[in-house]
């Protein structure tokens, strides 16, 4: 019986639950013994001119082996153009957390003492924090520019877009800045070998991309750089490739002629690792009173933070602007600005949660305006199953979707009519605890980067399998998933299959893990490699069995080769086939799966909240989710990915914000201040199954890593607004903290 679709407990766990993982700060490699410890001195100012740096006292501090500023570096530029980011700050700092100096000491505990002695004189400059200030441009972040706008895309809008609509609703909404906050902060260790090669252990989602960045930054050939991703304690998009710090550490290791190790503190992590989201969206929706939407416009402002690192984010939001709906007219445009805040980059969903939040809020505002049930308005406007493949006006080519079916499933599971009845009862009784029901339907894009992935399968002499994947799991359980895929195809027991990843010497060519790409691309790659191995094995087995390859088959039950219809005549094991292949041309296939095009997972979520209308406190009592990513390999990890996504999505809706004061001081830069969602704030999740395959890759699968984050945020936000609808509230910006909710209630009451 095939293991596909069965619940398989992870092979990764044994080590993690006994000795703990080997994360980058846990490495006790011989080559790192005696390595210096590193810390970055970071700007405490959002925007300031550096009038002087005195490192003399720091250099004399106990245990110090090196103190470096931009003046000491002999690296080429990190980027081009006026907004290029320096390795270490030169003349000006542009956000709190920007690295200014690198300090290295013999002992870890000497770092903080020495770093404090680096004396930097800052002359404050006006800080640009808000969208409006950035656009006004009274203060510019970069000399040689005439605006803080660094990118525009799409538009102009047509003045006549909404002509003829019976109802037009417009609103400005915020998709706030949040911190990815993987539980393991960033870290790296670097050592140059006697052979002149650099080895860097890096907490990363993409060792091979990191290798390219290290080689490029250092000005060396990629072949002399080896990057190893050890166990990685979460990434969520914020550990793609190598951070600039890693290049500086490798540079310092070369300069000092010794190993260097670095692990950042949480305070650094919350200001110096990239943040996510940070969009302001102007949404306009128009249509008929029967619920038909005729036009939708999304005008995005993207805060890029101090240095523009993620140009793709606002345009990806534009691409996905129309969501699951068949709107006749869609307009989307974006403007990206720089501010004196931490740079923005990918965070679980990266551009798609923002698109979904915008269109789902728009649908709810439209539904409220025409007095129609929000679920019904969605039903009227869905793209129908028979319309696929469906190309949206913004250029996305959706593969498959059963949007209405997903909505029906969650509404049924949530017992939607009963919820509406309870809501009505509470309203009739003037209950201080209001019930809110939020519905969201979403589609997203996975494997959207257009690249492929590598996969290699070796059949070893003993008949066991070693597979190499370019995917770079860091919690997703992909090793187990790929073992299942291979066991299913090869008929070899799972305990005889090992999956290796994350070492550039073992897997030279790869892209790695982000954008929920790994199963559809990395999985397809190892599956394709397995298929090639099977074809060659068929020839070899035929040779041994003295039969025609056409007559030889792989018995998946026994994991051996036999002549079709003549099983009694004997069989040939994988080990024998591998032996026949010989050492000169071992039984192995190494493929690049490049033909997989993006897929479009979708789903529907229902959130139920209780809101105390006297305090503004919101409690999520139920979250019912259908997340359709095609056939499921391992329901255990598939559900796990959804759970994690739901929590992060709910966290954004209710709690999390990376916030700054007017001077650009981060006010949520510790985990005591940043409202990282905890167990007590979440309900048990109710997962509903839905399976719609795609034809766009070998496995028929779509990505599941980000989907539940994308669907849950607007469902919860809508539920909060829905709870207060009878009081006249039409919108509450995220996060829906007690203060904001209370304010919204009060504002609505005063407006009456």
């Amino acid at each position: 019986m095939s293991v596909m679709g069965t619940r398989v407990v992870r092979f990764e766990d044994q080590k993690l639950i006994t000795s703990g993982g080997t994360y980058v700060d846990d490495l006790r490699e011989k080559s790192l013994s005696g390595a210096a410890h590193a810390v970055f001195v970071r700007s405490p100012m959002a925007h300031a001119r550096i009038s002087g740096i005195d490192v003399s006292a720091a250099r004399e501090a106990p245990g110090v082996v090196g103190v470096y500023t931009a003046a000491d570096l002999d690296l080429g530029p990190q980027g081009e153009g006026p907004t290029a980011e320096p390795w270490l700050a030169v003349d000006v700092v542009r956000y709190v957390g920007e690295p200014v100096a690198l300090v290295l000491t013999e002992q870890r505990y000497q770092l903080a003492d020495a770093a404090e002695l680096v004396d930097v004189d800052y002359d404050p400059l006006p800080a640009v924090i808000s969208f409006d200030d950035a656009i006004a441009g009274d203060t510019l972040l970069f000399p040689g520019t005439d605006s803080n706008v660094v990118q525009t895309h799409g538009g102009p809008f047509d003045d006549a877009t909404f002509d003829g609509c019976e109802v037009v609703v417009t609103h400005t909404i915020n998709n706030q800045r949040v911190a990815p906050a993987p539980l393991e902060t960033r870290g790296a260790s670097c050592v140059w070998g006697a052979d002149g090669r650099l080895t860097t252990w890096l907490s990363t989602q993409n060792a091979q991309i990191g290798r390219g960045q290290l080689a490029g930054g250092l000005g060396v050939e990629p072949s002399i750089v080896r990057v190893i991703a050890p166990d990685v304690g979460g990434g969520f998009g914020a550990k793609i490739g190598a951070p600039s710090e890693a290049i500086l550490l490798a540079w310092a290791a070369r300069k000092l002629g010794r190993g260097v190790r670095w692990i950042e503190s949480r305070g650094e992590n919350l200001t110096a690792m990239t943040h996510g989201r940070a969009q302001r969206q102007m949404i306009t929706i128009g249509g008929r009173r029967d619920g038909t939407v005729e036009a939708f416009r999304l005008d995005v402002q993207q805060d890029m933070g101090a240095y523009p690192r993620a140009a793709f984010l606002p345009t990806l939001t534009e691409l996905m602007a129309s969501g699951v709906y068949h709107f006749p007219k869609i307009e989307a445009a974006s403007t990206a600005i720089v501010t004196n805040t931490t740079p923005i980059a990918a965070y679980r969903g990266a551009g798609r949660p923002e698109a979904t939040a915008a269109v789902e809020r728009a649908m709810d505002l439209f539904a409220a305006e025409i007095g129609m049930d929000p679920a019904e308005v969605r039903r009227v406007n869905f793209i129908r199953p028979e319309e696929f493949p469906f190309t949206t006006q913004s250029g996305a080519n959706y593969d498959t979707g059963e949007y209405e079916s997903a909505l029906d499933k969650v509404l049924a599971a949530a017992r939607y009519p009963e919820l509406r009845a309870e809501q009505a009862r509470r309203r009739a009784n003037d209950d201080v605890v209001a019930l809110g029901i939020g519905v969201s339907t979403y589609v997203e894009i996975t494997g959207g980067d257009g690249g492929g992935e590598s996969g290699r399968v070796d059949i070893n002499a003993d008949g066991s399998v070693t597979a190499y994947t370019g995917s770079s799991p860091h919690g997703q359980g992909l090793s187990t998933t790929f073992v299942m895929l291979l066991s299913d195809r090869l008929g070899i027991p799972m305990d005889k299959i090992k999956v290796r990843h994350g070492d550039t010497d073992e897997v030279p060519k790869a892209i790695g893990t982000f954008g929920s790409r790994s199963l559809q691309l990395g999985g397809s790659a190892v599956a394709q490699a397995a298929d090639q191995v099977i074809e060659r094995a068929r020839e070899l087995a035929a040779d041994i069995l003295e039969a025609s390859p056409d007559d030889v088959e792989l018995n998946l039950e026994s994991g051996s080769w036999q002549v079709r219809g003549a099983e009694a005549a004997g069989s040939v094991s994988w080990a024998s086939v591998a032996e026949r292949a010989g050492d000169d041309e071992p039984l192995s296939a190494d493929v690049w799966f490049g033909e997989g095009s993006p897929t479009f997972p979708f789903g529907a979520h229902v959130a139920v909240v209780k809101v105390d209308t006297q305090t503004g406190k919101v409690r999520v009592t139920r979250l019912v989710a259908a997340d359709d990513a095609g056939p499921v390999v391992n329901p255990l990890t598939f559900r796990g990915q959804r759970h994690g996504g739901l929590a992060q999505g709910i966290g954004q809706a209710l709690l999390e914000i990376m916030d700054y004061d007017d001077d650009g001081n981060p006010v949520t830069a510790t985990l005591a201040d940043y409202s990282f969602i905890t167990a007590t704030e979440l309900p048990d999740f109710e997962l509903v199954e839905s399976v719609t395959p795609t034809s766009r890759n070998l496995l028929g699968v779509k990505g599941i890593g980000e989907a539940a984050t994308i669907g849950s945020t607007p469902a919860v936000q809508s539920a909060v607004v829905d709870a207060l609808a009878h009081l006249g509230v039409r919108h509450v910006d995220m996060p829906a903290t007690p203060q904001r909710v209370w304010q919204a209630i009060n504002d609505a009451r005063e407006a009456v």
Binding site: Q476, T670, L671
Partner: protein, 155 residues
């Protein structure tokens, strides 16, 4: 200063800087890297260990304070290669993904079940509020604790 700390049933005796945190004593002095550090503010619980059987966040305990006491870390949870029920339950219920919070989460669980052997799911949620996980959404962690307590895991 010289500290004597029993770690996972084994006596240890080491000269440490006065300001040495217990977590660094475990990780750097003894090389027991299973216990992790996830924040600077005693917020995340990744460093949770048992001190004389009760859970503490070892980033907020000086090694000096543990002098003369007994510490249990994740490395000391299983006995004779036999997994502790909490370890077994975390694996069986998929209560971990990246694994970084897991050692602390499991130690907090051991302490929780010691105080409340048959907790409800909500009691588990409330008790583990001081242990953060970014991967699992906590659902399966709660299931793992329920499983480890010998109760039926619903849903």
């Amino acid at each position: 200063m010289l500290v004597h700390i029993e770690v996972n049933g084994r006596a240890t005796e080491q000269e440490v800087e006065d300001r040495t945190l217990l977590v660094h004593y475990l990780r750097d002095t003894l090389g027991l890297t299973g216990t992790n550090v996830g924040c600077d503010t005693t917020s995340c619980g990744a460093c949770t260990v048992l001190l004389d059987g009760e859970s503490v966040k070892s980033c907020t305990v000086l090694a000096a304070q543990a002098d003369g006491h007994a510490v249990t870390t994740v490395e000391g949870l299983s006995t004779d290669g036999e997994l502790h029920p909490v370890q077994r339950a975390f694996r069986e219920q998929h209560g971990l993904q990246c694994g970084f919070c897991t050692p602390g989460m499991m130690m907090a669980t051991v302490s929780l079940l010691d105080e409340n052997p048959k907790p409800s799911r909500q009691e588990v949620r409330d008790a583990l509020e001081g242990n953060l996980c970014r991967c699992t959404g906590y659902h399966n962690i709660v299931s793992a604790v329920i499983d480890a307590s010998g109760q039926e895991v619903g849903g």
